[in-house]
């Protein structure tokens, strides 16, 4: 996929298994959204193929579209409709029998906002409603593009629970995010992308292990904070315990964020 002379996505190749929670992780402009759009069938790649259960999504085959649920980056709603009316309208597009909207509203915790127009919902409520709109037809595969962007910490955790429950009910979930903690908390596997390429693809734990970063141990010695960096935290902790120096202990291992920064560098991005 290229825009002018710049390749937005180049040589990206990955497979998502049924029932998997898969994350595309990367800084802004890494090509996450473009990749997702190719998989959804919104964009045609200049080279290469995308398949969902052996069907080319670019064909817009109705059978396939009934199986995938898509939440786009922006809040794509009909103007001046209430939350329930949005769900009714989207439901009708999929020939879903009426009456499912209230159950969906409850599922995303918006029952008391059913008669509020979408323009008057908060950012988190809009995100939850747009996820509900992606679920009206009970799809097997759900694509979510930065579902927690611009949400406060409470709204994010709240949404994580919802996303986990989607995956627990057997759905395949593919999401893009630039929050490391989100990917670490939710995803079975993550692909770390930058500049249109996949740099690493593995489980979050394996990625962190692969970094082989030192563990930071912090203790209080005579009221002063002492930091020890070690690749053998077991021995260091045993030594500290022997000397009875475990006051104010905190142990921090590397996180996905460290992996990410290690792979993509620390300089500012456009």
């Amino acid at each position: 996929m290229t825009y002018g002379a710049v390749k937005a996505v180049d040589g990206v190749s990955f497979t998502v298994e049924p029932g998997e929670f898969f994350g595309l992780l990367g800084p802004n402009g890494a090509g996450k959204t473009t990749t997702l759009e190719i998989v959804e069938g919104l964009r045609k790649p200049h080279a290469g193929t995308a398949r969902i259960d052996d069907v080319d999504p670019a064909t817009r085959a109705p059978g396939l579209m009934r199986r995938i649920g898509v939440q786009l980056q922006s809040s794509s709603f009909f103007e001046r409709l209430t939350a329930r009316e949005q769900l009714d309208t989207f439901g009708a597009l999929y020939d879903v029998p009426r009456g499912r909207s209230d159950a969906l509203l409850e599922q995303v915790g918006l029952t008391d906002k059913a008669d509020i127009r979408t323009e008057d919902l908060s950012g988190g409520q809009k995100q939850r409603l747009s996820i509900a709109c992606a679920l009206v037809h009970e799809p097997d595969v759900v694509f979510l593009d930065e579902p927690t962007a611009a949400l406060d910490p409470q709204a994010r955790r709240n949404l994580w629970d919802l996303l986990r429950s989607l995956n627990d009910s057997g759905r395949t979930v593919v999401l893009t995010t630039h929050y490391m903690d989100e990917a670490e908390a939710l995803c079975d596997r993550v692909a770390i992308m930058d500049a249109g390429r996949i740099l690493e693809l593995d489980t979050p734990a394996a990625l962190v292990r692969g970094l082989d970063a030192p563990v930071r141990i912090t203790v209080l010695v005579d009221g002063e904070e002492q930091v020890i960096e070690t690749r053998d935290p077991g021995r260091a902790l045993a030594d500290l315990a022997e000397h009875g120096a475990l006051d104010g202990l905190s142990v921090k291992g590397a996180t996905l964020e460290d992996v990410f920064l290690h792979l993509t560098g620390r300089e500012y991005r456009a």
Binding site: L42, F78, R80, E85, T89, A92
Partner: protein
């Protein structure tokens, strides 16, 4: 013809769009109340033209007026508004100030009419009226019955009374701007908020989406027409002529043509503001050149020549002919063909510029 299957998708999209329109107070105001404001304004301003009487100040006794037979007195009442005074100076002052159109006095057998040339039409009218009053007084003074008599009959002519002209013309403008703005802003908003892409990922045919939008626009146009005609008939004495039902196909075709213009404007606009700006830039001058705000009878030839290539001119002509000029239904055929032609060409142009996303 078998009935078209009305899909759930079409029905729900239509409902969603109608709710979106009627809940948008601004859109409702600009599509319905704003044009209606012009109808009330123009209906009020131009409503009484033509029937206004000449204002006369009569000084002392004027035999030709005072001693005229009752039948003549009645005619005077209809054409003249007579104020009596005894002071000639006062009467002249009234004329000079423009409060009266003429002063009339009699010296011996001479009837003197003093007028101002400020309003030449009124001046000529007053002179004509008094010249005929004096002539008929002369005839009756001879004691002979008049040999010739004048009978007048009104002919339904091309020049219409104000409300008959303004209702179809302003309605044309209202429908044109409603359809253009609706299509242009709808396209831009849905493209920008991603709803177009979202709809593209639903198993719904593009034709259902387009058909829903077209139906909503036509429904809005019908509501506009019903309100315009209703107000015109109820308050301003609008009278419809026989072929008026032809305005339904006319405004349907007009809506299609102007939706195509709106799609074109929406396709080249990146923002809602740009879409509104371009729509205004196209529709407002076109309304002037198509005679929506005033008749173009006296306009120079090149203005009317421009008008002939504008879809709104044809929409206005078709509605004037069928609604108020008493022409037959076939007078709508040429405007219909022109409007549908515009629709085809402009839609094809818009389709090549159309984008699903920014």
């Amino acid at each position: 013809m078998s009935p078209l299957p009305i899909s759930a998708a079409f029905r729900s999209l239509t409902t969603a769009m109608l709710k979106g329109f009627f809940r948008d107070k601004m859109a409702f105001f600009f599509a319905i109340l704003f044009p209606l404001m012009f109808l009330v304004l123009f209906g009020g301003i131009f409503g009484n033209q033509g029937s206004s009487k000449a204002e006369i100040v009569q000084v002392g006794k004027v035999a030709v007026l005072d001693d005229a037979p009752p039948a003549a007195q009645k005619v005077f009442e209809q054409t003249l508004d007579i104020e009596r005074t005894t002071s000639e100076a006062h009467a002249i002052r009234e004329v000079r100030k423009g409060d009266a159109d003429a002063a009339v006095l009699q010296r011996g057998d001479e009837v003197i009419v003093r007028f101002s040339r400020a309003d030449q039409v009124k001046a000529a009218t007053v002179q004509g009226i008094f010249s005929s009053i004096v002539q008929s007084a002369n005839v009756s003074a001879t004691g002979q019955p008049p040999r010739f008599s004048l009978a007048t009959q009104q002919v339904e002519d091309e020049s219409l009374s104000a409300i008959q002209f303004f209702t179809p013309s302003l309605m044309g403008w209202a429908i044109a701007s409603g359809a253009t703005f609706g299509a242009a802003t709808n396209l831009v908003v849905w493209r920008r908020n991603g709803l177009l892409r979202r709809l593209r990922l639903a198993p719904v045919r593009t034709s259902s989406i387009v058909l829903a939008r077209v139906s909503v626009s036509i429904a809005i146009a019908l509501v506009q027409a019903a309100i315009f005609i209703g107000i015109g008939m109820a308050f301003f004495g609008l009278k419809l002529t026989g072929a008026w039902p032809m305005i339904i196909p006319l405004l349907t075709a007009g809506t299609l043509a102007f939706m195509a213009i709106g799609l074109l404007a929406g396709s080249v606009s990146k923002s809602e503001e740009a879409a509104v700006g371009i729509s205004n830039f196209v529709v407002l001058p076109m309304a002037f050149l198509s005679g929506s705000f005033f008749p173009l009878d006296g306009a120079p030839g090149y203005i009317t020549a421009i008008g002939r290539v504008l879809p709104l001119k044809h929409l206005n002509d078709g509605m004037l002919d069928t609604m108020v000029r008493g022409e037959g239904p076939s007078s709508a055929l040429v405007p219909l063909a022109v409007l549908l032609g515009f629709t085809v060409v402009l839609t094809a142009a818009a389709a090549t510029l159309f984008r699903w996303d920014d």
